[in-house]
Structures are given as structure tokens and as C-alpha cells.
Amino acid sequence: MHPAFSVIFFTTLAGTGQGLFLALFLGQVYDYANPDFELGSAFFANGGAIALAFLTGGLIASIFHLGHPMRGWRAFSQWRTSWLSREVIALPAMMIMTFLYAAAHFIGQPAEVTITIGVIGLIVNLALFICTGMIYACISFIREWATPLTIVNFVLIGAASGFSFAVAYAAVAAPELVNMYGRYAIVLTGAAMIIRAWMLSRNKQLRESQKSTTQTATGFRNPNVRQTSMGLMGGSYNTREFFHGQTEAFIKNIKAIFIIASFVAPIGLLAGGLVTESLILLGAAHLIQYAGLLAERWHFFASANHPQNIYYQSVG
């Protein structure tokens, strides 16, 4: 597939916002359970506002994917069948819960109120992750995507980038949470790396066992079938939307970049930052991870092999 930057920015920004919401709520639970902690409500109010900013950034990015954004309201209607429609409902719901969470802390509501909002937000958060993942996982014939690993990948990567942001945020605003967030960020990033490596090896196996072939696509049973003309010479939507248009070497480089920048480097920087208590290392961990995740998502789209490509193998 041809990776669309609107969707790459949407999934990474919204994922970071969702992960940050998880981190804030966990921080509040820690705060509640530890009598030694005296976190002010400003930490959660400001953090919630930042999470809302990430989600809003994602929403704005997603609008660039639409040909007719002014008709976007229609996308609320088909939630019975369409995961995209469900996501269109879940995203504003998550934004509302994040807003309420931040606002409740801001006006100093008691813990029972903020924790109730947090639990509902947690459920909506998970629903949004599932909707986003299922948009890809539900297309059964794009086999690189059609796996529960896609959803796990979206959850873990969103959580990892949200927690890595929370580490840097806590380093500025709530130092007592830095170690806790740091440990979670390292564990989540490591788990995300394992799942992503699993997906990469699965993709390799899929390439070696094609389900749909030129024979099944055309019905010509002869083992030697070669396209001599795709019926057009100047390119079309079919040749642009479903091919990434890059060389094998480029794809390999992107893979190396995202493995290092999304997973390996952030774990190293987070560990180093926690030991040396360096805000620069902790901040760099998040920034490098976010940049790496843009490459990770690019690779996720580019490595999806659409069966329509069987019909577009030779210009002629």
C-alpha cells in the first residue's frame, strides 16, 4: 500500500494521547495508593490538556485524509458494520472523556469523581485502540494486517509513546513519578518491539506462501501466466494507491531506522535518563521514539501487500 501521511500522523498522535491518558490515570492510582505522594491536581489537569492536544492533533491529521471533510458527520451512521465508523464515534468520545478528566482535576473535584471519569475513559480508550486496529485487521485479504497482532501493536505502541512522553512530563512536573513511568515506558517499549518483530517475521512467512496468485486472480490454471499489459500505460489510481513505489533497499533502511529509533534507542535513553536523572535524555527518548514510530507506521502500510497488485504487474 501507499502510506498516507495523514493516517500515519493520526495513528501516532492519537496513540500518544491515548497512552498519556493511561499514564496519567495510573499516576493517579499510584498517588491514591501512596500516602507519601502529594501530587497536586494541576499535574493531572495539565497532563489531560496535553493528552487532549495530542488527540486533537490526530483528529486534524485524519481530516486531511478525507476528500469531503464537511460530509464527515455522515461517518457516524454505519457503526453496525464499519470499524471506521466506530472509530469516528470512539475518537470524539475519547476526547470528551480526556477533557472531562482534565476539567474535573482542574476544578478540584474529589478523587471519587476523577477516578470514575478515569475508569470510563480507560474503557473508551481501549475501545478506540481496538477500532483503529480493526480498521486494518478486518480486511481479511490484506494478510499482513489481518491478525490480532495489529491491534496489540497499536495498543502497545500508543501506550509506549504515551508513557515515554509522561516520563519527560513528570520529570518537569512530578519528579516522584519519573521512576515509575520510566519503568513502564521501558517495559511497554520492549513489549512493543517483541510484537513488532513477531509481525515482521510473520510478514516474511506470508511472502513465501501467497494465498492469491496470478492463477487464482485470472482463473488461468497454467503454472506459467505472465501479464503483458495492465491495460494502461500512464498509471492510474490502481498503480498509485496500492504500491509504495520505493526500492527494496529503501524499505530495509526504514525497517532498520524504526527498530532503532522506536525501540532500541528509547530504551537506552530512558534507562540512561533514569540513572543519571537527566531531563535531556528523557526528553530525547520521547522525541526519537515518536520520529521512529512515524517510520514504523510508514513501514506498516508499505509492507501490506494488496491482492489487486496481481492485476498490475506489467505496464505493457
Binding site: M1, H65, L66, G67, H68, P69, R71, G72, R74, A75, S77, Q78, T81, S82, W83, L84, S85, V88, I135, C138, I139, S140, F141, I142, K211, S212, T214, T216, A217, T218, G219, F220, N222, N224, V225, R226, Q227, T228, S229, M230, G231, L232, M233, G234, G235, S236, Y237, N238, E241, F242, H306, P307, Q308, N309, Y311, Y312, G316
Partner: protein, 206 residues
């Protein structure tokens, strides 16, 4: 229940592309607006088409055959492009099984084209909506036309009669009979889309 469809006879398709150009002519002239072309006379021409004729070489030299292979929307009985649409713009008509896009409801998210394994949908970059074969729904019911012409433009244009139009749920239709008697088959049958359009294989001639 009616399921209108095209049956493509690969025995007689000569690859003349008359179905491609007649489709383009009819569908660029209708109420739905043009099927745009970009740089039609320039270096990188590109445009929206509902129908293409591809060519395949089958076999090993010197025993090869050239097979011309028209390809358009197959109006699947279980179309994966329909349930994924977030707005309901992409739909399958109850009355005749035609898969259509309501261009006034389409938000141009392109998700339906990802969910079509055949690449039958093409995005119109000018009107920013997804477009596809309508089986000439604005022709086949037009009572102003003589009854013999109430067929898709591609069927009218084919000089070799390689395209048979009809109701594949009616066992007595010409389309159903052709499928039954000539081993008609589906494209990518393993994906379970149950295409309404079917192809008639080349008969072995010794």
C-alpha cells in the same frame, strides 16, 4: 432476487478496448459528472476508468496463448467494499444486486477501495469521491431507449459479443446458461466474495 451481472467470454475477446472507450464515453457524459483525465495528451496521462482490458501470456514458449482479460467491478454477492463504508455511500442494491457509490454521501476516505481485492474502484481526484462501474444503471432501465439497447455501454460496444449481460439468479437467462454450459468461473474465489460477474474459460481446441 435479481442479480445483474456481466459474463465475460474469454474465447472471443480480441482485446480491442471498445468496451473501455464506450464505458468511458457513456459514464463521462452522465448526470454524475465527468470521469476526469489528467494530461490526456501529456507525458503522464492518467484518468478514471470503470473498465480495463488487460493482456496475459499463458503457457511456455512456443506453446503460448495471448489472453485478453476485461476487468471491471464484479458486483460481488458478498461485497467486502460495502460493510466497511462509514457513511453508507457504498451500497448493494436489493432490487438488482448492483454495487453502487452514492457520490453525494461519499466522504472520499478510500477505505472501500482498500477493501476491494480486485482493484475495481478508482478515486476521482477532481470530485474527491470514489467511483466505480455502475453496470450502466442509468442506461439499463431507461425506457426512452429501444429495449434492445437497455444494456451496459460496454456490452453494446463489444464487436465479438464477449460480454453477456443478464440476471445470473435467473436460471433461464442467457447469462446463467452460458455460465452453466461453459464452466464459468469466478476471480479470486478463495476470498469468498462470490463475484456476480463470471468468466468463461478458453475451450481446449486440439
Amino acid at each position: 432476487m435479481t442479480q445483474l451481472a456481466l459474463i465475460i467470454d474469454l474465447n472471443v475477446c480480441v482485446g480491442c478496448h471498445a468496451c473501455v472507450t464506450s464505458c468511458k464515453q457513456w459514464n463521462t457524459s452522465g448526470d454524475a459528472g465527468p470521469l476526469p483525465d489528467d494530461n490526456p495528451y501529456g507525458k503522464d496521462p492518467s484518468g478514471v476508468f470503470f473498465n480495463r482490458v488487460q493482456t496475459f501470456e499463458v503457457g511456455t514458449f512456443p506453446n503460448t496463448e495471448t489472453v485478453h482479460f476485461p476487468k471491471s467491478c464484479l458486483h460481488c454477492e458478498d461485497p467486502p467494499c460495502v460493510p466497511v463504508c462509514p457513511t453508507g455511500a457504498s451500497h448493494k442494491r436489493e432490487e438488482d444486486g448492483i454495487v453502487l457509490v452514492d457520490y453525494d454521501k461519499c466522504i472520499g476516505c478510500k477505505y472501500c477501495s482498500w477493501a476491494c481485492p480486485y482493484g475495481a474502484r478508482e478515486f476521482d481526484e477532481h470530485s474527491k469521491v470514489m467511483k466505480k462501474c455502475t453496470l450502466c444503471v442509468d442506461r439499463i432501465y431507461d425506457e426512452a431507449l429501444p429495449e434492445a439497447e437497455r444494456k451496459p455501454a460496454c456490452v453494446m460496444a463489444c464487436p465479438a459479443n464477449a460480454r453477456i449481460f443478464g440476471d445470473v439468479h435467473d436460471p433461464d437467462s442467457e447469462a446463467s446458461q452460458m455460465v452453466r454450459e461453459n464452466h464459468g468461473y469466478s476471480l479470486l474465489p478463495e476470498l469468498g466474495t462470490q463475484p456476480a460477474n463470471q468468466y468463461l474459460p478458453r475451450a481446449n481446441r486440439k
